[in-house]
Every structure is written in structure tokens, then in C-alpha cells.
């Protein structure tokens, strides 16, 4: 379900070019408006759809998967910190959602890594990465292991 651009709404601001993780949103050399240069490489992350200040980008559902008549539209309001979705089904059912993007003002919850003391030699020798195991499990217990879960390493199984 690749993205496409309504050329009449796009004002060529470049936000989609900037944000696309696949680097497939670019500026059309003829009309100087955004376009998806490689639709089959689009993984529908909706980043460009949300970032577009003119709501000029939409996602086209493949006809066999999402037949005519549906629509999925999104409005990301970063000043309010919310993201709103409007889903229309083919039978006319409409669903609306409103969720937070962030619960704290932008830029206030950035970890101050420069203030963190450097790792000790013991921490350097350890297999754990920064803030592990704290960041990988919410309780204060030890590192989660296969043994904890009652499992054993088995040949031919990907864990």
C-alpha cells in the first residue's frame, strides 16, 4: 500500500523527504513537488503522511487487499501532542481515534547522557549495555534468561 502525493496540495516543503526511512520520498524534478520514487519499496510506515503539514500524502490500498471505498486518514498535531485517525470502511462504518504522541512537552524528556558518569572498568567488561538490565525489564529483578523462562538452548531453534 504505497504512499502517493496529491500534487495540488503539496507545497514542496521537504518534510517527507527528510523523514522517509526508506529514502523514497523525493522532489519531482519537473514539478518540484514531492513524489514516491519507488512505491514497491514503501513499507507504509505513515511517517511522511503524518509529517506532511498540508495533508498532501495518502496511502493507496491495493485493490485486492483493500477494495475501493475505504480510507485511512491521519492528522498529527504536534502542538497539541496528539495524533488522530479516521478510518472509513467500505460499508460506511467510520471509526475515529485520538491518542497522545507524547505526554510531556517536546524536548523536555530527552535523556541527559552527557551528565551520566562514565562506565567503570567492571561495567566495560560486562556483557550488558548501557542501563541494562534496567531498561530491558520493568521490575527490579535480574537479567531475563532462557533458564528463567524454563527453556534450554536447542540446536536448530532460533531464539
Amino acid at each position: 500500500m504505497p504512499t502517493f502525493v496529491y500534487m495540488t496540495r503539496c507545497d514542496g516543503c521537504g518534510h517527507c523527504v527528510d523523514i522517509c526511512p526508506s529514502d523514497i520520498m523525493h522532489i519531482d524534478p519537473t514539478y518540484r513537488r514531492a513524489y514516491n520514487i519507488e512505491p514497491n519499496m514503501c513499507w507504509e510506515c505513515y511517517s511522511c503522511v503524518k509529517a506532511c503539514p498540508q495533508h498532501a500524502i495518502d496511502v493507496r490500498g491495493y485493490a485486492d487487499f483493500a477494495p475501493l471505498g475505504h480510507s485511512v486518514r491521519v492528522d498529527r498535531d504536534e502542538r497539541k501532542g496528539t495524533i488522530a485517525w479516521k478510518i472509513k470502511f467500505r460499508d460506511g462504518t467510520e471509526k475515529n481515534f485520538l491518542s497522545p504522541i507524547t505526554t510531556k512537552p517536546w524536548g523536555t524528556a530527552i535523556p541527559k547522557l552527557a551528565d551520566v558518569p562514565g562506565p567503570s572498568s567492571e561495567m566495560r567488561e560486562s556483557q550488558l549495555l548501557y542501563n541494562e538490565p534496567k531498561y530491558i525489564r520493568l521490575d527490579e529483578g535480574g537479567l531475563r534468561t532462557l533458564e528463567d523462562a524454563g527453556l534450554k538452548l536447542k540446536k536448530g531453534v532460533y531464539y
Binding site: T8, R9, D11, G12, C13, G14, H15, V17, D18, I19, H26, I27, P29, T30, Y31, R32, A51, P53, Q54, H55, S71, R73, V74, D75, D77, E78, R79, K80, G81, T82, A84, W85, K86, K88, N96, F97, L98, S99, P100, I101, T102, T103, K104, P105, W106, G107
Partner: protein
């Protein structure tokens, strides 16, 4: 120099009414080019089809509401270039737009009202110069630093494509006009280059984005109408401003959050190519 009518100086060496006829032909070229553009691209048909489609779906709007929307469109979207989110682009556009209006009006007044007066009331040559310099500042700023393929794609500002026809012909015409007027305003090579660049600017309407000044206000009006009648171009309309929405389970974590969270990704210009 800013008190001299360069068109009167040139007119003395040109056939009678040459400049007046030239201006009328340029106006006709814009009208014809815009009409051709509308028919060729089907923009008017698309616009009215969209309006009809939205009319069937949305809440009917009264005459007063439509007038109010038209005034908002004129003041915010047209006079203040409100569509632009990037403030640099907005300032450059305002400089170019108002500069172009001053430049064209002052040119028309000097050509039609003072065709043989080398020193007309000082306000007109002064407005012509101010307008031209505004176009040049806004235009070159846009061309070298702001336009999207330079700012967002990292292309060289010297790579030219067809989409540049409008801004380049405008800059060429006004730059040559300023140089020609600064050189005394006679009929020489500079004058004819100025005329050629002006013909490209006004004669190239079907191939350039010159006609945007006519269809952009219509698109802005349509956008405002769709917001007012509830269709909102099919976009979600729920916001935190509505107390009912703040009670939603999904919004629980935002109970104590400020209503204005500041800017997120839009804090920085999109130039991380």
C-alpha cells in the same frame, strides 16, 4: 535615478505607443495562457467536481458563512501567504508577491499615464524601484537557499528544470529591468534583453506556474469550506480542545499535559538529506 521614468526615456526612441501596445499584449498573453492552462490541466473542472462532491456530503453553508470564509481566504491565505509553514518561504513569497504588484502597477502607470514625462511624480519611479528590489531580494533568496530541491534534496542551485521557468523568467526580467533602468533606460541591447525576458515571463504562462496566483486562492477557499462544512477533506477532526475527547481512555496520560506542547519535528528545517 529613482526619480526618472525609464519608459519615457526609451519611448522617445521607439515607435509611438510601442510600450503601451506591448503591455496590452502581455496582459492578453497572461489571460489567454491562464485560460489555456485551466482547460489543459483540467484544474477548474477538478475544483468544481470536488466542490460538488463535498456539497453532497457536508453540512450546507449559508451565504454569510461563505462570505466570511472568502474574507478569511483573502486576508490569511492570499494577502499574508498563510499557506506556507516555513516562515522563510513565507517572507520570501511576500517580498516577491508585493514587490511584483508594486513593480507592475508602477510600470503600468508610468507607461500609460506618463509615457513622455521623464520625471513623473517621484512616487511612481520610487515604487517601481522598491517593487523591483523586493522581487530580487525575495526571488534570489528563494532561488539560492530556500527552494526545496536545494534545501531538502541538496541539489546545486544552478541545476535548472522546467519548473524553474516562472521564477527564473521573473528574476531575469526584473534583474534586466533594474540594470537597464540604472544604465539610463535607453533603447540598446539591455532594453531588448529586458523585453525578451518579459515576453518569456508573460508568454510562458501555459508552461510555467505563473497561473498559481489564480488557482491557489481557489484551492485555499475550497480547503476552508471543507473544514467549515465538516467534510475536512476526509481528515479526522477530533482534537484535545474538545473536553469530551480529553476524557477518552487513550488520552488518560495527557491529563496534566499542557495544551501547547511546543514544536516536535518541525522545530528544525527539513534539511537532513
Amino acid at each position: 535615478m529613482p526619480s526618472v521614468n525609464p519608459f519615457a526615456v526609451a519611448g522617445a526612441s521607439l515607435p509611438v505607443d510601442f510600450l503601451q501596445v506591448f503591455l496590452v499584449v502581455m496582459v492578453l498573453a497572461v489571460v489567454a495562457g491562464t485560460l489555456f492552462d485551466i482547460v489543459h490541466k483540467g484544474s477548474a473542472r477538478y475544483f468544481f467536481a470536488n466542490m460538488r462532491k463535498a456539497k453532497d456530503k457536508g453540512r450546507p453553508l449559508g451565504g454569510g458563512e461563505l462570505v466570511s470564509i472568502a474574507v478569511q481566504t483573502a486576508v490569511v491565505d492570499v494577502l499574508a501567504s498563510g499557506e506556507f509553514c516555513n516562515h522563510k518561504r513565507r517572507v520570501a513569497h511576500l517580498l516577491g508577491m508585493y514587490g511584483f504588484v508594486l513593480y507592475v502597477v508602477a510600470t503600468a502607470v508610468m507607461v500609460f499615464r506618463y509615457p513622455t514625462t521623464a520625471t513623473p511624480p517621484a512616487i511612481w519611479p520610487l515604487l517601481w524601484w522598491i517593487g523591483a528590489l523586493m522581487v530580487l531580494v525575495g526571488g534570489y533568496w528563494f532561488w539560492f537557499f530556500i527552494r526545496v530541491d536545494v534545501a531538502a534534496e541538496g541539489h546545486s542551485p544552478f541545476s535548472l528544470v522546467k519548473a524553474d521557468l516562472f521564477v527564473l523568467s521573473l528574476l531575469a526580467s526584473v534583474t534586466l529591468g533594474v540594470v537597464w533602468a540604472a544604465a539610463g533606460g535607453g533603447v540598446g541591447l539591455l532594453f531588448w534583453l529586458y523585453i525578451i525576458a518579459t515576453i518569456v515571463l508573460f508568454g510562458g504562462v501555459p508552461w510555467s506556474k505563473f497561473a498559481h496566483m489564480f488557482f491557489k486562492p481557489a484551492a485555499a477557499f475550497e480547503k476552508r469550506v471543507s473544514r467549515a462544512d465538516g467534510t475536512a477533506e476526509n481528515l479526522p477532526t477530533q482534537t484535545r480542545d474538545d473536553p469530551e475527547q480529553r476524557k477518552r481512555h487513550s488520552m488518560e496520560l495527557m491529563r496534566d499535559a499542557p495544551m501547547d506542547m511546543g514544536l516536535g519535528i518541525k522545530r528544525e528545517a527539513p534539511r537532513h538529506y
